[in-house]
Amino acid sequence: MSLKISDLIDDRPEEGVFRVNRAIFTDAAVFEAEMRTLFEGGWIFLGLESQAPGPHDYFTTFAGRVPVLVQRDEAGTLRGFLNSCPHKGARIAQLRQGTARLHVCPYHSWSFDSAGRNKAVKWKAAGCYSQSFDRDDHGLAPLPRFANHRGFLFGSLVADVPPLADYLGEAGKLLDLVADQSDEGLELVPGQVTFTFEANWKLQLENCSDAYHFTSAHPSYIRVLERRQQDMSESVVASVWENSDYWKEDTKGVGGGSFTFAHGHVLNWGVFGVTPAIPLYERAGELAERHGEGKRDWMFNMRNLTIFPNLQVAENASSQLRVIRPLTPGLTEMRTWCIAPKGESAAARRQRIRQYEDFFNPTGMATPDDTISYENCQIGYAATAAPWLQGYARGMTASAAGGNRFADRIDLYPERSVLADSQLCDETLYHSYYRAWAQRMAGAFGA
């Protein structure tokens, strides 16, 4: 097959054209190139520092298909390693999270300390090894790049990447809006939820940024909220949507918008206001004092952030951290957590958890209506007689270079922005995903 990028992404800004070929969601060669180029060839989100809080604590994850171990040593230094024994390749750490002064490979008992150094090759002296073997390092292979942005840990399986600060760029400030919600930092609420869907990973990428689907895909959830609002009692949880109408059809005026950044990072947002329905409300005054009202107000806004390609932080119905892990072109795994500022009150934490479960869980009342829609898309992508999708066109004449008055409130300088009333539902923010995608995939395909 000789695919060209221009066969996959039709990007002609001067003509007002941006189209995506359905093949990018189904083609095996595209998927293989994505794994090598995006997930195993650049910065990937690995986890939060708080997942390995103390000496010798670790957690495991994947960079694309590659098993990764993130380990804190005795002195507290965090490192990333390939989670694979140099001897026969077996996965070393098998649990998602734990504490290990020493990792002993269960296959032939080679052992490694919490700094990744080899501590023993079993029966080394009797092994009749050559000098060549002795010259090799028998420790765990470190990730070529590993870096920490405010507790968000990233790694790269290749060394030839920009520094993390450059990769995140201005989008790093949006991670700071999460990190700065508590002086003590962030934590993941105990209880991790994993689900899969039979569709391409980029559907998740897009859906997080998709304001257009909310009233179409989630009317049953909206009806539940209405029922609760009519008859509030202690047995139902207050919804953050109740106090906001930015998404309603009859709303007038600017209700939110989108920002896009270099390297494929994207935010869509809506005005929520500083209201008691948001668990952070108990800190509203304190946060304004510490960070200024502009930044405080932004912490309360609805924000769906994607750090390309595998991290999403959604602060809307509650607060969710998602890690996207593509398994095949038509199968994706999502690892999800409730992310929360440390030290919040018991009442705020309870409210955050209840809001989360109803909206975000695959056992809740909203996410399944998204993921089933992804699966319907995946089925529909077989209709290649009409290859070009038309879902990237809303907002084309509203997209402006640079930021706007809302960005200015937190000194944020996006590449492009859209200010929107509730019905605009920008789709040009996806362009940022696919421009970064095309730029990095160009090496795998012809231009």
């Binding site: 649990l95 998602r96 999270q97 609420v189 105990p190 209880g191 991790q192 939820v193 994993t194 689900f195 899969t196 869907f197 039979e198 895909a217 009317p219 049953s220 959830y221 009806r223 539940v224 029922r227 609760r228 008859d231 009692s233 202690e234 047995s235 139902v236 957590w337 409730c338 018991a346 934490r349 309870r350 958890i353 209840r354 989360y356 479960e357 869980n361 695959p362 056992t363 809740g364 009342m365 996410t367 399944p368 209506d369 993921t371 089933i372 829609s373 699966e375 319907n376």
Partner: protein, 166 residues
């Protein structure tokens, strides 16, 4: 109805509940619960430990109050949820029923379950399994569910898992 919960009464209630869900008789299913019933499916903290405190830890589902189950049923049957239209076909098999404590007007019951689910739309079958813990109370001359805890053992969810398949 006897003064103290018998295993026969417990089995009768659990089997009836399964039948009502599997045959889509949701209004009758809701009637089995007390108005302040707790309905709880914990998440897993790690490979071996489910979450234990719904106030401080995440659950897959946690509700206090039957009206929340009424909301779920409304959503399932509203025709407004893509994921719920059409509803999957299910059969619950409830086994290993034990009355773990009984006295006065309250009884605690444990059981095991498997639920086979056929997702008609996608032509795929899943099996979910785990354990139930119930607190049953006598109300209006009937045993009703004051608490149902569902410990789901295979918790990697294939796309969707609703109250009809647990």
């Amino acid at each position: 109805m006897s003064a103290v919960l018998t295993i026969r009464e417990a089995e009768e209630l659990l089997y009836r509940e399964a039948l009502l869900i599997d045959s889509g008789r949701f209004a009758e299913w809701l009637e089995l619960f007390t108005p302040d019933a707790e309905f709880w499916m914990p998440a897993w903290r790690d490979e071996t430990t489910p979450t234990e405190d719904p106030e401080r830890e995440l659950s897959l589902i946690y509700y206090k109050g039957r009206r929340n189950l009424e909301d779920r049923v409304m959503r399932l049957t509203s025709g407004l949820s893509t994921a719920s239209s059409p509803l999957p076909r299910t059969v619950h098999q409830v086994t290993n029923v034990l009355v773990t404590s009984a006295g006065g007007d309250t009884g605690e019951v444990s059981a095991a379950f498997t639920c086979h689910r056929f997702d008609v739309r996608m032509d795929r079958t899943h099996c979910f399994f785990g354990r139930y813990e119930y607190r049953l109370v006598q109300a209006g001359g009937l045993w009703r569910i004051a608490r149902k805890k569902i410990l789901l053992l295979n918790d990697t969810v294939p796309t969707v898992l609703d109250i009809t398949a647990i």
